[in-house]
């Protein structure tokens, strides 16, 4: 019903073109997926497309004529965006936060395209707004992941720094410990030679240098095979070359005036064999003192035994009436003197035996002997003492004749005598002594045992039973006559024969001593 005015054909064509253009613009505006608005230089929104309305929630009527800054949280930045960027350049992009009609906020990328008239005057701009929620979300997640990763890395770094600090502290402590150990080793009064796992000489302390007359730096890192062949290590070669995990000891005379007590010990760390060490203990002075003492005892004993023998025979003659009759009182005195003299002689004999043992010249008459006869002769010699103490002696010999053994009969006799003497001396009156004799086929030896029902040996003193001059406390209280040398002598005699000696004992119930002699 429009009041059509008469149009020229040209005007009609223009009219149609405009209508077509309008339709095209409308279609394009509705189709364009990118939210776009037209803004004038005063930042007033002149128009918006369909996508813009959908994104912001505002329609043309609601938002048209509004300041475009009202759309964004960064209101002050919009002015700058237009003034500084759009007026000077054609196109600018900035990330901002869109505030929609329903008050939600959307991260957006805003692209501005300035509009200019034919003379280049700034006449406004288009704003294209892209929802970058997903991008931001992804970016946020990425940043979160980066932050988390960074945090992890920082924590790891911190942990690593802590570990490094701990390691450094541990290193300092280890260094300190090493220095202390080195100080101990350096100042150790014994010589030390330490070999590593491969058998190379790793450390020589100053004392070892002094004892061996060597310079550590010249021999360090040499293998045992080469060390063993060096002249100064000659006497030590056997110990150095041993392949054993047990502790080995040896007394080694390195020179005329140098005797060493050498200990070879494995170095074990957490069950792993990491080498071995040699401890060189200088016992030259001890050996010299010991030798002088032995010589003195030997000399004294020899010098004492002659007059004591003379005294013995003189007293014997008195007791036998060879020099006239003596009354009962006189006899009593002489008998006591005789017995004391006997004990003195026994002591001197023991001392001489010990001296010989220590001088290593004890065994002299090794020959095949009947052990049974040797033992029996000793038992027989103690008949009076056994009877006097009302003891019962049981001699258990294995059935059949025992083979003869290659022994020094006199010394085995002495060993057994010492055991039997103890069994009698420390037994109770009316007690029992059981002597055993049996063949150990497997070990090719004969075992002799002496069991008593006496006072026994206190448990805390049993380890020292075979020590020289040792006497158990309960034995000393009961009997003051023992020398404390009998078991020492017995042990050395048995050891010299290649046999073993041991015992079981319970205080108040008795003891059983065993020893073996190889058949040879």
């Amino acid at each position: 019903m429009n009041q059509d005015k008469p149009l020229t054909p040209e005007m009609q064509r223009l009219q149609e073109d405009l209508e077509f253009l309008e339709g095209y613009l409308n279609e394009f505006s509705e189709f364009l997926p990118l939210p776009v608005c037209t803004v004038n230089p005063l930042n007033i929104i002149l128009g918006v497309n369909q996508s813009f309305q959908e994104l912001t929630g505002y329609n043309t009527i609601e938002i048209g004529g509004s300041n475009v800054a009202e759309l964004f949280l960064e209101k002050s930045e919009v002015g700058l965006f237009v003034n500084e960027a759009l007026r000077d350049s054609k196109r600018v992009v900035k990330e901002m936060t869109l505030s929609t009609k329903n008050k939600t906020t959307i991260p957006v990328s805003v692209c501005g395209l300035s509009r200019r008239d034919d003379e280049g005057n700034f006449i406004g701009y288009f704003l294209a707004i892209s929802d970058i929620t997903e991008v931001k979300k992804f970016q946020g997640e990425l940043e979160d992941r980066v932050r988390a990763k960074t945090k992890d890395l920082e924590e790891s770094k911190l942990a690593l720094v802590n570990i490094l600090e701990d390691v450094d502290e541990a290193r300092i402590r280890a260094e300190d410990e090493k220095n202390k150990t080195l100080a101990v080793i350096t100042n150790f009064t014994d010589g030390l030679l330490i070999f590593d796992k491969k058998g190379n000489l790793a450390l020589v302390n100053p004392k070892a240098e002094s004892l061996l007359g060597i310079e550590a730096e010249k021999i360090i890192n040499n293998p045992t095979t080469r060390i063993k062949n060096m002249p100064i290590f000659g006497p030590l070669a056997e110990l150095i070359g041993k392949k054993t995990k047990a502790i080995q000891r040896a007394e080694i005379k390195l020179k005329d005036n140098l005797v060493l007590d050498v200990t070879r010990a494995p170095i074990i760390r957490e069950r792993e064999d990491i080498g071995f060490l040699l401890v060189l203990h200088d016992i030259t002075r001890e050996k010299m003192v010991e030798r002088m003492k032995t010589e003195f005892v030997s000399l004294a004993a020899h010098q004492l035994r002659t007059p004591l023998s003379a005294i013995k025979w003189s007293l014997k003659m008195l007791l036998d009436g060879d020099v006239g009759t003596i009354n009962q009182d006189q006899r009593g005195f002489v008998e006591k003197t005789y017995n004391s003299n006997e004990r003195m002689i026994a002591l001197i004999n023991d001392l001489l035996n010990v001296t010989k043992i220590e001088e290593g010249r004890y065994l002299s008459n090794l020959a095949l002997n009947d052990v049974y006869e040797v033992i029996k002769s000793v038992i027989d010699s103690y008949k009076d003492a056994i009877t006097k103490k009302n003891l019962t002696v049981e001699f258990n010999q294995q059935e059949g004749r025992l083979p003869k053994a290659k022994i020094d009969a006199e010394k085995i006799q002495l060993s057994f005598q010492n055991l039997l003497d103890n069994a009698i001396r420390y037994n109770r009156v009316g007690g029992r002594i059981t002597v055993g004799l049996k063949l150990l086929k497997k070990e090719n030896s004969i075992e002799i045992s002496v069991q008593d029902t006496g006072m026994g040996i206190p448990a805390d003193q049993q380890a020292r039973v075979f020590d020289k001059f040792f006497r158990a406390e309960n034995a000393m209280k009961k009997d003051t006559e023992g020398t404390g040398l009998g078991l020492f002598i017995a042990k050395n005699i048995i050891a010299s024969h290649g046999g073993k000696i041991w015992f079981e004992s319970e205080q108040g119930k008795g003891s059983t001593f065993h020893f073996t002699v190889p058949l040879g």
């Binding site: 019903m1 005015k5 128009g47 004529g65 509009r115």
Partner: protein, 203 residues
């Protein structure tokens, strides 16, 4: 008796006596506002009302750049007022909203590079939208913050004074940087004046 006090059908007859065309953009802008205020269905009521008044139209066929009788534009305003019981304020808002969705206004805004220049271009706005009457813009005073526009040759219906007050206020809001802009009709053809004159002031 004031024109507004006659029944609508009598007013229509008087309106239709007036000659002069306007761009479809003006009609579409009004339709958009009614749809915005009263919903999509309200357009059916408008079409029906105008048809009852003797002028059947199909609203969706309006084209922005095509010419239509200004009387039809006035009828749409009056129909909306009657159907929805709108007051003068609503008519003012309708006019104020119209430039927002007017393609013609958007096209003309291309001549904006300053407030003064846009002010000077205002007669072109009139000529772009109407094929009758005349708009004169004068006394632009940036210091006093005011200017005036004068419209001659327009006498369709008094309600349109309120409508165009809103309309020209929006144009001013487009071209003046101010939070508070006011418009006042200083002279009106319905009050014995020979033209409509609006004073626009701002702070």
């Amino acid at each position: 008796m004031n024109q507004e006090n006659y029944p609508l059908n009598i007013q229509v007859a008087k309106i239709m006596e007036q000659l002069g065309n306007t761009r479809g953009a003006m009609l579409k802008a009004n339709i958009d506002y009614i749809k915005f205020r009263e919903g999509e269905e309200s357009l059916v009521a408008i079409e029906k009302k105008i048809s009852e008044l003797g002028f059947p139209v199909t609203i969706r066929k309006f084209r922005s750049l095509k010419w239509y009788p200004e009387a039809l534009s006035v009828l749409i305003v009056l129909a909306a007022k009657e159907i929805f019981g709108w007051l003068d304020k609503d008519i003012f808002d309708m006019g104020n909203s119209a430039p927002k969705s007017s393609l013609v206004v958007q096209l003309l805004m291309r001549h904006f590079s300053s407030s003064k220049q846009s002010f000077e271009e205002m007669p072109r706005y009139w000529r772009a939208n109407f094929d009758f009457g005349e708009l004169e813009a004068f006394d632009f005073n940036d210091q006093a913050k005011d200017f005036r526009i004068r419209i001659t040759g327009y006498k369709f219906h008094p309600i349109m004074c309120m409508y165009y007050a809103g309309y020209f206020l929006r144009i001013a809001q487009f071209i003046i940087r101010s939070e508070e802009i006011n418009i006042e009709e200083k002279s009106c053809v319905y009050d014995g004046g020979v033209y409509h004159e609006y004073e626009i002031t701002w702070k």
